[in-house]
């Protein structure tokens, strides 16, 4: 059945085309086509996973697409344990988010187009996961970027939404530039872009270590952009301008994980180029700490989750950089479910109270039971409370930092902050007294299409991590691994420490935001510089504006002036000069050339007019000429 796996991405593509071309007018049919396509893909992916669990071998299909003398560009699919894991994650979350969107986007004037975009995204993401070479993955990489742009700016009437779309597109483009440089480096040194061939060369030491490190860092640039890592993380919080299901699907569970997937896929490069691996790990932990610290003080429910996403992605990247393939991908798996769930819950809350500011929420627990429980479970999961899925993956990540004390301390710090900000969110949203009575009165539980995905994801948020319980003989690490399968070892100390850290984070949030025995305002006043810095997101947007955007704009306006003043003047001068030359030539043409031609004609004509006099048409005159001629000739003869 693996030969036909290309059908998984193909169905959403067909659905996109059909909706766009034929069924746009029919909202019900459009959404049904889109959900139907992804559901078939989901079932197929589950089938593939079962198949792969039975026989964990690699399967590759490749076709030459463009053959050049030195290298050929290929299309193809590669199926192994990582691919099937990703396929299941992407199709599951996509399917649930699309069902959820039925309720959330209900009444939107561009309902059908929304589903078309979601289908296009699903196609691109599944293609990215299935691709068997760097060239093809780059194509899908850009396609997911495009759909991300389209969906962030879906409500483009809002200027902030269209701006956010542009910001996301341009920021990720910076990373993609590095990605393509990395691909070119690989093509130069390896002479091929096929994953397996490149990795075989990397492992065999065919590629010089320096070049391999450089290529690894450049490829990581792409992941930095797409997975919103420091210093290109600024686009993801703004991307929350898009519809919330989009945030859940693209900007939490799947697309932003593409960077992590890419690093995981390229593990052979980082394993053989330790410098590049260290760069990856450092960027990852910086991002994790930075984003988690920002999330502590934000008030917009979606932005908190966005920074949480950035921070968790930093976790995964760090784990991969430190060489723990299993930890990074496992966290990708569990994070996809609980973060999608968090976003969908946030969407449900926003749907109910029509605000995103947690300062105006509160006490919603009784009114939205399913949403509350789902969000509560997801928060426990992300905070890393056993035995929820987040605990097991976070545990793996902490384990991966063994031997790197700095990383370990920072990882635990992030875990603490994560638990704190998630429960700050929970307490402010669902507990206490309503701070906006009007919004509270209107709040209601969301429709069935929205709560059903929440319940399914809730189950997944609890159970997905169980595949990696260290006491299992055939656990996750025996299925998804790099090089050699390695049974996970339970580290009781780490389990204990991380649980304690998570619980203390929750406890602090409980004291500050539920019991109110520690005043949040007092803390904010006491650490005012720190609070302001965090509240303003470490001033990244301002710094980029000052250091990059303003100078670039100044440069461009300077260049524009140069263009306008100098280049245009020269061009216009040559234009005018040419006109003048043409005028001279026209005068010459009219008077000299035409004059010569006309003069010749006139000369011939007037000579003809003269000669014509003889041709009277009088036969008698002609006869006279004949006779006259004969007489003259006779006279000449005689004389």
């Amino acid at each position: 059945m693996r030969e036909f796996s290309w059908i998984i991405p193909l169905l959403p593509l067909l659905s996109f085309l059909v909706i766009l071309l034929f069924t746009r007018e029919n909202r019900k049919l459009s959404s049904a086509i889109s959900i139907g396509a992804i559901t078939i893909g989901f079932i197929y992916a589950i089938g593939l996973l079962i198949r792969q669990l039975g026989d964990n071998s690699e399967f590759e299909m490749r076709f030459a697409w463009a053959v050049f003398p030195t290298m050929s560009l290929e299309v193809g699919i590669l199926i192994d344990s990582l691919t099937t894991m990703m396929l299941v994650v992407v199709t599951t979350v996509s399917m649930l988010v699309q069902i959820y969107s039925l309720g959330y986007m209900h009444g939107d004037p561009r309902f059908s187009r929304y589903f078309a975009y979601l289908s296009l995204f699903t196609f691109s993401m599944l293609g990215l996961v299935l691709a068997n070479n760097f060239f093809l993955v780059f194509i899908f990489w850009e396609l997911v970027g495009l759909t991300s742009y389209l969906l962030i700016g879906f409500w483009f009437e809002k200027k902030s939404a269209s701006d956010a779309g542009k910001k996301a597109f341009i920021t990720t483009r910076i990373g993609d530039m590095g990605f393509i440089v990395g691909i070119l480096l690989l093509s130069i040194y390896a002479g091929t872009l096929n994953y397996k061939e490149v990795f075989a060369q990397a492992a065999g030491g065919v590629i010089p270590t320096a070049a391999l490190s450089l290529a690894g860092v450049f490829i990581f640039c792409g992941a930095v952009g797409k997975s919103a890592q420091f210093p290109l993380h600024v686009w993801l919080p703004d991307a929350m301008e898009g519809p919330t299901p989009v945030s859940a699907l693209i900007h939490a569970a799947t697309m932003v994980a593409a960077g992590v997937y890419l690093v995981a896929r390229s593990m052979a490069i980082y394993a053989n180029a330790p410098t590049a691996g260290m760069v990856v790990a450092t960027i990852g932990i910086i991002t994790a700490v930075l984003a988690a610290s920002i999330a502590l003080v934000q008030n917009d429910i979606k932005r908190i989750l966005a920074y949480s996403t950035v921070s968790q992605l930093g976790y995964m990247i760090m784990a991969l950089g430190l060489g723990s393939f299993t930890a990074g991908t496992l966290h990708l798996l569990t994070h996809a479910f609980f973060k999608a769930l968090l976003f969908l819950c946030a969407g449900s809350v926003i749907h109910a109270v029509h605000t995103q500011d947690i300062q105006f929420m509160g006490g919603l627990r009784g009114k939205m039971k399913i949403t509350f429980w789902a969000m509560f479970i997801a928060s426990l999961s992300i905070a890393g409370i056993p035995p929820l899925s987040g605990f097991w993956s976070k545990d793996e990540i902490v384990t991966s930092t063994m031997g790197h004390p700095v990383f370990m301390v920072l990882t635990l710090l992030v875990a603490f902050m994560t638990a704190f900000y998630m429960f700050r969110l929970i307490f402010l949203t669902f507990f206490g007294t309503p701070r906006d009575q009007h919004a509270y009165d209107h709040a209601h539980e969301s429709p069935r299409t929205m709560t059903m995905p929440l319940q399914i994801l809730m189950v997944l948020s609890i159970c997905a991590g169980w595949v990696a319980i260290p006491w299992l003989k055939e656990g996750y690490s025996m299925f998804v691994y790099f090089h050699e399968p390695e049974a996970a070892q339970p580290h009781y100390l780490i389990m204990l420490v991380s649980s304690v850290v998570a619980l203390s984070g929750i406890g602090l949030a409980y004291l500050v935001y539920y019991k109110r025995s520690i005043s949040a305002d007092a803390l904010a006043t006491k650490f005012k510089p720190l609070y302001t810095t965090l509240y303003n997101k470490w001033y990244f947007d301002e710094i980029y504006d000052r250091v990059l955007i303003k100078p670039v704009l100044a440069l461009t306006s300077g260049l524009w002036t140069f263009d306008n003043g100098v280049i245009d003047w020269v061009v216009n001068f040559f234009g005018k000069f040419t006109v003048w030359v043409s005028d001279v030539k026209q005068w010459f043409d009219v008077h000299i050339v035409d004059g010569a031609v006309n003069g010749l004609g006139y000369t011939v004509w007037s000579f003809g007019a003269l000669i014509r006099q003889v041709q009277t048409g009088r036969v008698q005159l002609y006869g006279f000429f004949i006779v006259f001629g004969i007489v003259v000739m006779l006279l000449i003869k005689v004389v």
Binding site: G617, R618, Q620, V627
Partner: protein, 103 residues
């Protein structure tokens, strides 16, 4: 003074010249036809004169001139018929005015 061949030839030349002058100068079609008759007759005189003075034993010149007279008569008939038709169509027999075929 005996009349010699030269006299006949001179007479014929003068007659021919008068005929030619008529052909070239007359505007009247009938006049032109008459002048042509003069030229024929000048030729006939020549033919008869040469027959008399050069080969008196034969009658070839005289027979030839009889042919000329017969043909000329036929020619005059056709010519006058054409002139008559022209006159009927144009009410005019001045050759200058009959320029239907002139460009």
């Amino acid at each position: 003074m005996e009349i010699s061949l030269a006299h006949y030839l001179a007479l014929a030349a003068i007659l021919f010249g008068i005929g030619m002058f008529g052909v070239l100068t007359r505007r009247n079609a009938v006049g032109i036809l008459m002048s042509i008759e003069l030229m024929f007759n000048a030729v006939n005189i020549n033919l008869v004169a040469f027959n008399r003075f050069v080969t008196p034993a034969d009658f070839t010149g005289q027979i030839f001139s009889i042919f000329v007279i017969v043909v000329a008569a036929a020619e005059a008939t056709v010519g006058l018929a054409i002139v008559l038709l022209i006159y009927r169509n144009f009410r005019d027999i001045f050759v200058d005015n009959i320029n239907l075929m002139k460009w």
